[in-house]
Symmetry: C2
Subunit: 150 residues, 2 copies
DNA sequence: AAAATAAAAGATAAAAAGGTCTTTTAATAA
DNA sequence: TTATTAAAAGACCTTTTTATCTTTTATTTT
């Protein structure tokens, strides 16, 4: 459904929202280590995310990545659209080119409500809001097996 | 979530359940054309499905693929496990190695009920039952855009 | 200004997924 | 029993995804 790249991008952006700021920028390596993602790959991803204004960066000593207010108002949908292209998320679960209520695939009516729900969340909630929720719920952002509750 | 191979396998097995029988076997090409799937690729898949006893085949004139009673009692889960390996379906939506109620990813509690539902269907319903439902609902099995209601 | 730091850029490599083609084998109908 | 048909088997190719490495550029601190 989502590419690994998208997953990395979502997790690391949420991580930035929670742990970085203009005053406390984070390097790729620090983030990659924290959430357990290959750092050169994440570096490439971050370039892309900076370019499309989903995250921000500065070079040099004490440089790194962080989110501006504008960045914080982006959505997870923006990330997915940037990385995976327009809405891989909305593809038919069984791969039909045209799957809808009139032309339903065999699992359409099971998948549809789920898609509406998660899609709604990804579209309507800002990164900042999402990150706050993640923090409140104690959700995990670490890919590795040994995730520890904060 | 599912590989394309799994999707092809599911659709074509349901198609076989609906359209073929021991008396009316179907060739790869016929099925591939019907549901709009590359036929050499489907041929490979079918070999695998025959080997693990999810579908049946005979060679020669009037040969082709069909389902036995035993085949009809397999499940979609059996297909997925055979093609994608054990339960790619159950992987965390955001890629966490260990994602559960205690260690939830940021969307765990949205994804979990959906997984339970679709997973249950795929596990508890036989191919035959599923195919009957598909027929009753008039669901579409054709990948191409121009699917036509039967 | 010089040294150090960290991202940007881009070339490259490895792995997985998706797809095709050719030869062999088995079954059956003529 | 021969010709034909259709699957089985396996080699091979292409594209996409994932991952790495090296060089350049910008910033900042000393």
């Amino acid at each position: 459904m989502l590419s690994r790249a998208s997953k990395y991008a979502i997790l690391s952006t949420l991580y930035l929202a929670e742990h970085a700021s203009k005053e406390k920028k984070m390097s790729v390596k620090a983030i990659a280590n924290s959430i357990n993602v290959p750092s050169p790959f994440l570096a490439k991803l971050f370039q892309q995310l900076v370019k499309c204004n989903i995250i921000s960066s500065t070079k040099g000593p004490n440089g790194g990545f962080y989110l501006t207010i504008e960045n914080e108002n982006k959505t997870v949908c923006d990330i997915i659209e940037e990385i995976d292209g327009t809405n891989k998320l909305d593809d038919c679960f069984l791969g039909l080119a045209k799957c809808d209520g009139n032309n339903p695939c065999p699992v359409h009516f099971i998948v549809e409500p789920f898609k509406k729900k998660i899609f709604g969340k990804f579209r309507d909630q800002t990164i900042k809001e999402f990150a706050n929720e993640v923090e409140a719920q104690g959700s995990v952002l670490f890919l590795s097996g040994l995730a520890v509750k904060k």
